[in-house]
Protein backbone atom coordinates (compact mmCIF):
# COMPACT_ATOMS: atom_id res chain seq x y z
CA UNK A 1 0.00 0.00 0.00
CA UNK A 2 1.46 3.32 -1.08
CA UNK A 3 1.94 6.15 1.41
CA UNK A 4 1.03 9.63 0.23
CA UNK A 5 1.72 13.06 1.71
CA UNK A 6 -0.58 16.08 1.64
CA UNK A 7 -1.58 19.00 3.86
CA UNK A 8 -4.64 19.64 6.02
CA UNK A 9 -5.17 23.19 7.30
CA UNK A 10 -1.52 24.04 6.61
CA UNK A 11 0.00 21.04 8.40
CA UNK A 12 1.69 18.22 6.51
CA UNK A 13 0.49 14.67 6.98
CA UNK A 14 1.08 11.28 5.43
CA UNK A 15 -1.34 8.39 5.24
CA UNK A 16 -2.14 5.22 3.32
CA UNK A 17 -3.72 5.94 -0.03
CA UNK A 18 -6.89 3.98 0.87
CA UNK A 19 -7.74 6.18 3.86
CA UNK A 20 -10.47 8.81 3.62
CA UNK A 21 -9.86 12.42 4.59
CA UNK A 22 -12.22 11.92 7.53
CA UNK A 23 -10.34 8.89 8.84
CA UNK A 24 -7.05 10.76 8.62
CA UNK A 25 -8.54 13.86 10.27
CA UNK A 26 -9.92 11.77 13.14
CA UNK A 27 -6.55 10.09 13.62
CA UNK A 28 -4.94 13.49 14.01
CA UNK A 29 -7.77 15.00 16.11
CA UNK A 30 -8.73 17.50 13.43
CA UNK A 31 -12.43 18.22 14.07
CA UNK A 32 -14.76 17.75 11.10
CA UNK A 33 -18.49 17.63 11.90
CA UNK A 34 -20.44 14.59 10.68
CA UNK A 35 -24.01 13.36 10.94
CA UNK A 36 -24.76 10.52 8.53
CA UNK A 37 -21.35 8.92 9.14
CA UNK A 38 -21.09 6.20 11.78
CA UNK A 39 -18.10 3.92 12.28
CA UNK A 40 -19.16 0.39 11.38
CA UNK A 41 -21.59 1.39 8.62
CA UNK A 42 -20.93 2.12 4.96
CA UNK A 43 -20.35 5.77 4.01
CA UNK A 44 -22.89 7.57 1.86
CA UNK A 45 -21.79 11.24 1.98
CA UNK A 46 -25.43 12.24 2.37
CA UNK A 47 -25.49 14.94 5.04
CA UNK A 48 -22.73 17.14 3.51
CA UNK A 49 -21.61 18.39 6.93
CA UNK A 50 -18.09 17.00 6.45
CA UNK A 51 -17.48 18.92 3.20
CA UNK A 52 -13.90 20.15 2.85
CA UNK A 53 -12.13 22.45 0.41
CA UNK A 54 -9.48 21.09 -1.90
CA UNK A 55 -7.13 23.60 -3.49
CA UNK A 56 -7.48 23.80 -7.25
CA UNK A 57 -10.99 22.34 -7.21
CA UNK A 58 -14.13 24.47 -7.21
CA UNK A 59 -16.11 21.49 -5.95
CA UNK A 60 -16.30 20.76 -2.25
CA UNK A 61 -15.72 17.12 -1.29
CA UNK A 62 -17.25 15.10 1.56
CA UNK A 63 -14.37 14.09 3.82
CA UNK A 64 -16.09 10.77 4.63
CA UNK A 65 -15.78 9.48 1.07
CA UNK A 66 -12.93 11.53 -0.48
CA UNK A 67 -9.37 10.19 -0.37
CA UNK A 68 -6.36 12.47 -0.62
CA UNK A 69 -3.85 12.20 -3.44
CA UNK A 70 -0.16 13.11 -3.35
CA UNK A 71 0.40 16.82 -2.71
CA UNK A 72 -3.27 17.64 -2.11
CA UNK A 73 -3.98 20.81 -0.10
CA UNK A 74 -7.08 20.33 2.06
CA UNK A 75 -8.87 22.88 4.23
CA UNK A 76 -11.45 21.78 6.79
CA UNK A 77 -12.54 24.92 8.57
CA UNK A 78 -12.72 27.96 6.28
CA UNK A 79 -15.35 30.68 6.61
CA UNK A 80 -17.09 29.30 3.53
CA UNK A 81 -17.31 25.81 5.07
CA UNK A 82 -18.50 27.19 8.41
CA UNK A 83 -21.23 29.11 6.62
CA UNK A 84 -22.37 26.05 4.67
CA UNK A 85 -22.33 23.81 7.75
CA UNK A 86 -24.47 26.20 9.72
CA UNK A 87 -26.87 26.53 6.79
CA UNK A 88 -27.17 22.73 6.54
CA UNK A 89 -28.12 22.47 10.21
CA UNK A 90 -30.59 25.33 9.78
CA UNK A 91 -32.23 23.55 6.85
CA UNK A 92 -32.42 20.30 8.85
CA UNK A 93 -34.02 22.20 11.74
CA UNK A 94 -36.53 23.99 9.53
CA UNK A 95 -37.60 20.85 7.62
CA UNK A 96 -38.50 18.87 10.74
CA UNK A 97 -40.27 19.49 14.02
CA UNK A 98 -37.48 19.47 16.58
CA UNK A 99 -38.95 20.47 19.93
CA UNK A 100 -35.94 19.65 22.11
CA UNK A 101 -37.82 20.34 25.34
CA UNK A 102 -40.18 17.39 24.79
CA UNK A 103 -37.77 15.05 23.00
CA UNK A 104 -36.62 11.70 24.44
CA UNK A 105 -32.97 12.45 23.60
CA UNK A 106 -32.83 16.06 24.81
CA UNK A 107 -29.23 16.60 25.94
CA UNK A 108 -28.00 13.42 24.19
CA UNK A 109 -28.80 14.36 20.61
CA UNK A 110 -26.30 14.56 17.76
CA UNK A 111 -28.37 17.21 15.97
CA UNK A 112 -28.41 19.38 19.10
CA UNK A 113 -24.64 18.95 19.46
CA UNK A 114 -24.15 19.90 15.82
CA UNK A 115 -26.27 23.01 16.32
CA UNK A 116 -24.00 24.03 19.19
CA UNK A 117 -20.88 23.17 17.18
CA UNK A 118 -21.88 25.41 14.28
CA UNK A 119 -23.06 28.21 16.61
CA UNK A 120 -26.71 28.00 15.64
CA UNK A 121 -28.31 30.74 17.73
CA UNK A 122 -31.40 30.89 15.51
CA UNK A 123 -32.67 29.56 12.18
CA UNK A 124 -32.67 32.18 9.43
CA UNK A 125 -34.93 30.34 6.99
CA UNK A 126 -38.68 30.05 7.69
CA UNK A 127 -39.65 26.94 9.64
CA UNK A 128 -41.83 24.68 7.48
CA UNK A 129 -43.56 22.94 10.41
CA UNK A 130 -44.36 19.95 8.19
CA UNK A 131 -46.89 17.24 9.05
CA UNK A 132 -44.81 14.09 9.44
CA UNK A 133 -46.05 10.61 10.33
CA UNK A 134 -45.38 8.90 13.64
CA UNK A 135 -45.67 5.10 13.80
CA UNK A 136 -46.08 3.51 17.22
CA UNK A 137 -47.48 0.17 16.02
CA UNK A 138 -44.33 -1.81 16.88
CA UNK A 139 -44.51 -3.46 20.30
CA UNK A 140 -41.15 -2.07 21.49
CA UNK A 141 -40.19 0.88 19.29
CA UNK A 142 -41.54 4.10 17.81
CA UNK A 143 -40.52 6.04 14.70
CA UNK A 144 -41.33 9.76 14.89
CA UNK A 145 -40.49 11.18 11.49
CA UNK A 146 -40.84 14.73 12.84
CA UNK A 147 -37.36 14.28 14.33
CA UNK A 148 -35.81 12.40 11.39
CA UNK A 149 -32.93 14.03 9.49
CA UNK A 150 -32.80 11.30 6.80
CA UNK A 151 -29.22 10.32 7.63
CA UNK A 152 -30.10 6.71 6.60
CA UNK A 153 -28.13 5.16 9.44
CA UNK A 154 -31.20 3.02 10.26
CA UNK A 155 -31.51 1.94 6.63
CA UNK A 156 -27.84 0.97 6.52
CA UNK A 157 -27.58 -0.80 9.87
CA UNK A 158 -30.67 -2.87 9.13
CA UNK A 159 -29.39 -3.88 5.71
CA UNK A 160 -25.67 -4.18 6.39
CA UNK A 161 -25.49 -5.45 9.96
CA UNK A 162 -28.80 -7.09 10.81
CA UNK A 163 -29.37 -8.26 7.23
CA UNK A 164 -33.11 -7.66 7.45
CA UNK A 165 -33.48 -4.56 5.24
CA UNK A 166 -36.73 -3.33 6.75
CA UNK A 167 -36.06 0.35 6.09
CA UNK A 168 -35.89 2.35 2.87
CA UNK A 169 -36.40 5.94 1.78
CA UNK A 170 -39.76 6.64 0.17
CA UNK A 171 -40.92 9.79 -1.61
CA UNK A 172 -38.97 12.52 -3.38
CA UNK A 173 -37.36 15.81 -2.37
CA UNK A 174 -38.98 17.50 0.58
CA UNK A 175 -41.42 14.56 0.89
CA UNK A 176 -38.69 11.96 1.49
CA UNK A 177 -39.32 9.80 4.52
CA UNK A 178 -38.13 6.58 6.09
CA UNK A 179 -40.50 3.73 5.24
CA UNK A 180 -40.55 0.15 6.48
CA UNK A 181 -41.49 -2.94 4.46
CA UNK A 182 -42.38 -0.85 1.41
CA UNK A 183 -44.47 1.56 3.49
CA UNK A 184 -46.39 -0.70 5.86
CA UNK A 185 -46.98 -0.07 9.58
CA UNK A 186 -43.91 -1.14 11.59
CA UNK A 187 -45.98 -3.37 13.86
CA UNK A 188 -47.09 -5.43 10.85
CA UNK A 189 -43.58 -5.83 9.43
CA UNK A 190 -42.67 -9.38 8.55
CA UNK A 191 -39.00 -8.57 7.93
CA UNK A 192 -38.28 -6.69 11.20
CA UNK A 193 -36.51 -8.87 13.76
CA UNK A 194 -37.11 -6.34 16.56
CA UNK A 195 -33.34 -6.23 17.17
CA UNK A 196 -33.37 -2.49 17.93
CA UNK A 197 -30.20 -1.68 15.97
CA UNK A 198 -31.94 1.13 14.08
CA UNK A 199 -32.99 2.71 17.38
CA UNK A 200 -29.41 2.63 18.70
CA UNK A 201 -27.78 4.23 15.66
CA UNK A 202 -30.36 7.01 15.20
CA UNK A 203 -28.63 10.37 15.88
CA UNK A 204 -31.85 12.05 17.03
CA UNK A 205 -35.02 11.09 18.88
CA UNK A 206 -36.68 9.88 15.65
CA UNK A 207 -36.31 6.22 16.68
CA UNK A 208 -36.84 5.41 20.32
CA UNK A 209 -37.86 2.68 22.70
CA UNK A 210 -41.33 2.66 24.14
CA UNK A 211 -41.53 3.31 27.85
CA UNK A 212 -39.22 6.30 27.59
CA UNK A 213 -41.76 9.10 27.67
CA UNK A 214 -44.16 10.45 30.26
CA UNK A 215 -46.76 8.01 31.55
CA UNK A 216 -45.51 5.00 29.59
CA UNK A 217 -43.93 2.91 32.31
CA UNK A 218 -45.82 -0.06 33.72
CA UNK A 219 -44.69 -1.23 37.16
CA UNK A 220 -44.49 -5.00 37.39
CA UNK A 221 -45.06 -6.15 40.94
CA UNK A 222 -45.64 -9.86 40.25
CA UNK A 223 -42.06 -10.58 41.36
CA UNK A 224 -43.02 -9.86 44.94
CA UNK A 225 -45.74 -12.48 45.05
CA UNK A 226 -43.29 -15.03 43.67
CA UNK A 227 -40.60 -14.24 46.23
CA UNK A 228 -43.09 -14.40 49.09
CA UNK A 229 -44.50 -17.79 48.06
CA UNK A 230 -41.32 -19.38 46.63
CA UNK A 231 -40.20 -21.08 49.87
CA UNK A 232 -43.63 -22.51 50.67
CA UNK A 233 -44.16 -23.74 47.17
CA UNK A 234 -40.53 -24.92 46.80
CA UNK A 235 -40.61 -23.25 43.43
CA UNK A 236 -37.52 -21.15 42.63
CA UNK A 237 -38.23 -20.10 39.08
CA UNK A 238 -41.05 -17.66 38.42
CA UNK A 239 -43.59 -18.66 35.80
CA UNK A 240 -44.59 -16.11 33.20
CA UNK A 241 -47.96 -15.85 34.88
CA UNK A 242 -46.45 -14.92 38.23
CA UNK A 243 -44.18 -12.28 36.73
CA UNK A 244 -47.08 -10.30 35.34
Amino acid sequence: MAIITFSIDGEHYSAREDQTILEIAREHKIPIPTLCHLDGLSTVGACRLCLVEIEGSAKLQPACTAKPVEGMVIRTNTDRLKKYRRTIVELLASEGNHQCAVCVVNGHCELQNLAYEVGLDHVRVPYLFPSKRLDATHKDFVIDRNRCVLCTRCVRVCHEVEGAHVWDIGGRGINCEIIGDMNQPWGESESCTSCGKCVRVCPTGALFEKGATVGEMHKERGFLKYIVTARNKQQWIATAHEEE
Partner: protein, 178 residues
Protein backbone atom coordinates in the same frame (compact mmCIF):
# COMPACT_ATOMS: atom_id res chain seq x y z
CA UNK B 1 -30.60 57.38 34.18
CA UNK B 2 -30.97 53.63 34.63
CA UNK B 3 -31.53 51.48 31.54
CA UNK B 4 -35.24 50.90 30.91
CA UNK B 5 -35.89 47.17 30.71
CA UNK B 6 -39.10 45.38 29.78
CA UNK B 7 -40.06 41.73 29.70
CA UNK B 8 -43.03 40.42 27.75
CA UNK B 9 -44.96 37.15 27.67
CA UNK B 10 -46.35 36.07 24.30
CA UNK B 11 -47.27 32.44 23.42
CA UNK B 12 -45.32 30.64 26.12
CA UNK B 13 -45.90 28.98 29.47
CA UNK B 14 -44.24 31.72 31.60
CA UNK B 15 -41.46 29.26 32.42
CA UNK B 16 -38.85 31.70 31.09
CA UNK B 17 -40.15 34.32 33.49
CA UNK B 18 -40.04 31.76 36.32
CA UNK B 19 -36.41 31.19 35.39
CA UNK B 20 -35.86 34.96 35.43
CA UNK B 21 -37.04 34.93 39.06
CA UNK B 22 -34.61 32.05 39.68
CA UNK B 23 -31.79 34.61 39.47
CA UNK B 24 -32.52 34.86 43.21
CA UNK B 25 -30.36 37.37 45.09
CA UNK B 26 -29.00 38.70 41.81
CA UNK B 27 -32.47 40.23 41.33
CA UNK B 28 -31.66 42.67 44.12
CA UNK B 29 -28.54 43.83 42.30
CA UNK B 30 -30.54 43.99 39.08
CA UNK B 31 -33.25 46.09 40.73
CA UNK B 32 -30.58 48.67 41.62
CA UNK B 33 -29.20 48.77 38.11
CA UNK B 34 -32.33 48.83 35.92
CA UNK B 35 -35.76 50.34 35.77
CA UNK B 36 -38.30 47.58 35.05
CA UNK B 37 -40.84 49.49 32.99
CA UNK B 38 -43.05 46.65 31.77
CA UNK B 39 -43.41 42.98 32.70
CA UNK B 40 -46.01 40.33 33.55
CA UNK B 41 -44.51 40.45 37.03
CA UNK B 42 -45.08 44.25 37.28
CA UNK B 43 -48.49 45.89 37.19
CA UNK B 44 -48.10 47.99 34.06
CA UNK B 45 -50.92 47.94 31.52
CA UNK B 46 -49.34 49.48 28.42
CA UNK B 47 -45.95 48.78 26.87
CA UNK B 48 -44.15 52.12 27.33
CA UNK B 49 -42.06 54.01 24.76
CA UNK B 50 -38.30 54.46 24.89
CA UNK B 51 -37.37 51.00 26.24
CA UNK B 52 -33.69 50.05 26.11
CA UNK B 53 -33.96 46.26 26.34
CA UNK B 54 -36.97 43.95 25.93
CA UNK B 55 -36.83 40.25 26.78
CA UNK B 56 -39.68 38.56 24.89
CA UNK B 57 -40.85 35.11 25.94
CA UNK B 58 -43.02 32.88 23.76
CA UNK B 59 -43.91 32.29 20.14
CA UNK B 60 -46.24 34.54 18.17
CA UNK B 61 -49.36 32.40 18.17
CA UNK B 62 -52.38 34.75 18.24
CA UNK B 63 -53.46 38.17 17.07
CA UNK B 64 -52.62 39.79 20.41
CA UNK B 65 -49.05 38.36 20.34
CA UNK B 66 -48.67 39.66 16.79
CA UNK B 67 -49.78 43.18 17.71
CA UNK B 68 -47.67 43.12 20.88
CA UNK B 69 -44.56 42.01 18.97
CA UNK B 70 -44.85 45.06 16.73
CA UNK B 71 -45.51 47.38 19.68
CA UNK B 72 -42.37 46.03 21.35
CA UNK B 73 -40.28 46.48 18.22
CA UNK B 74 -41.47 50.06 17.78
CA UNK B 75 -40.66 50.97 21.37
CA UNK B 76 -37.57 48.95 22.25
CA UNK B 77 -34.06 49.54 21.00
CA UNK B 78 -32.82 46.00 21.69
CA UNK B 79 -35.12 42.97 21.47
CA UNK B 80 -34.06 39.57 22.85
CA UNK B 81 -35.86 36.34 21.92
CA UNK B 82 -36.20 34.95 25.42
CA UNK B 83 -36.25 31.12 25.39
CA UNK B 84 -36.93 28.33 22.91
CA UNK B 85 -40.55 29.26 22.05
CA UNK B 86 -39.50 32.75 20.96
CA UNK B 87 -36.43 31.35 19.16
CA UNK B 88 -37.81 28.22 17.46
CA UNK B 89 -41.56 28.08 18.10
CA UNK B 90 -40.87 25.05 20.32
CA UNK B 91 -43.83 23.52 22.18
CA UNK B 92 -46.17 26.37 21.20
CA UNK B 93 -45.59 25.49 17.53
CA UNK B 94 -46.47 21.81 18.01
CA UNK B 95 -50.04 22.79 17.14
CA UNK B 96 -49.00 23.96 13.67
CA UNK B 97 -49.96 20.72 11.94
CA UNK B 98 -53.59 21.24 12.97
CA UNK B 99 -55.98 23.95 11.83
CA UNK B 100 -57.02 26.56 14.39
CA UNK B 101 -60.58 25.17 14.14
CA UNK B 102 -59.36 21.68 15.09
CA UNK B 103 -57.37 23.06 18.03
CA UNK B 104 -60.23 25.12 19.37
CA UNK B 105 -62.68 22.26 18.94
CA UNK B 106 -60.36 20.05 20.99
CA UNK B 107 -59.48 22.58 23.69
CA UNK B 108 -62.74 24.40 24.22
CA UNK B 109 -65.44 21.88 23.22
CA UNK B 110 -64.17 18.29 23.60
CA UNK B 111 -62.10 18.90 26.73
CA UNK B 112 -64.43 21.43 28.34
CA UNK B 113 -65.92 20.49 31.71
CA UNK B 114 -68.41 23.35 31.78
CA UNK B 115 -69.93 25.69 29.18
CA UNK B 116 -68.25 24.42 26.02
CA UNK B 117 -67.94 27.38 23.64
CA UNK B 118 -65.46 28.65 21.08
CA UNK B 119 -63.37 31.78 21.74
CA UNK B 120 -63.71 32.62 18.06
CA UNK B 121 -67.34 33.52 18.84
CA UNK B 122 -66.06 36.48 20.83
CA UNK B 123 -64.52 39.24 18.75
CA UNK B 124 -62.98 40.80 21.87
CA UNK B 125 -60.69 37.77 22.40
CA UNK B 126 -57.39 37.23 20.65
CA UNK B 127 -57.70 34.92 17.64
CA UNK B 128 -55.26 32.12 16.83
CA UNK B 129 -53.00 32.75 13.86
CA UNK B 130 -52.78 29.99 11.23
CA UNK B 131 -49.44 28.89 12.68
CA UNK B 132 -47.36 29.82 15.71
CA UNK B 133 -44.10 31.49 14.55
CA UNK B 134 -40.78 32.24 16.23
CA UNK B 135 -40.45 35.92 17.10
CA UNK B 136 -37.76 36.70 14.50
CA UNK B 137 -40.11 35.62 11.70
CA UNK B 138 -42.46 38.44 12.77
CA UNK B 139 -40.13 41.27 13.86
CA UNK B 140 -36.35 41.78 13.62
CA UNK B 141 -34.65 40.38 16.73
CA UNK B 142 -31.26 41.51 18.06
CA UNK B 143 -30.17 38.57 20.24
CA UNK B 144 -31.27 35.07 21.18
CA UNK B 145 -31.43 33.36 24.53
CA UNK B 146 -32.13 29.62 24.28
CA UNK B 147 -33.38 26.95 26.60
CA UNK B 148 -36.70 25.67 27.79
CA UNK B 149 -36.37 27.60 29.95
CA UNK B 150 -33.03 29.45 29.76
CA UNK B 151 -31.18 28.96 33.03
CA UNK B 152 -30.88 31.80 35.52
CA UNK B 153 -27.14 31.91 34.71
CA UNK B 154 -27.83 32.32 30.99
CA UNK B 155 -30.29 35.13 31.68
CA UNK B 156 -27.90 36.83 34.10
CA UNK B 157 -25.08 36.62 31.55
CA UNK B 158 -27.25 38.12 28.80
CA UNK B 159 -28.64 40.92 30.95
CA UNK B 160 -25.21 41.71 32.43
CA UNK B 161 -23.64 41.96 28.99
CA UNK B 162 -26.42 44.27 27.81
CA UNK B 163 -26.07 46.47 30.90
CA UNK B 164 -22.34 46.68 30.19
CA UNK B 165 -23.21 48.02 26.76
CA UNK B 166 -22.19 44.88 24.88
CA UNK B 167 -24.22 42.75 22.50
CA UNK B 168 -24.33 39.37 24.28
CA UNK B 169 -22.50 36.61 22.45
CA UNK B 170 -23.37 33.45 24.32
CA UNK B 171 -20.36 31.29 25.19
CA UNK B 172 -20.72 27.74 23.80
CA UNK B 173 -21.82 26.38 27.19
CA UNK B 174 -24.83 28.72 27.15
CA UNK B 175 -25.92 27.69 23.65
CA UNK B 176 -28.39 25.04 24.71
CA UNK B 177 -31.81 24.13 23.32
CA UNK B 178 -34.42 22.24 25.34
Amino acid sequence: MKPRVATAWLGGCSGCHMSFLDMDERLIELADRIELVYSPIADVKEFPPNVDVALVEGAVTNSENHEMAHIIRRNARFVVSFGDCATTGNVTAMRNRFTSEQIQQRAYIELADLNPQLPSEYTTLAQLLTTARPLHEVIPVDAYLHGCPPTADQIWFTVSELLAGRVPVLPPAYLRYG
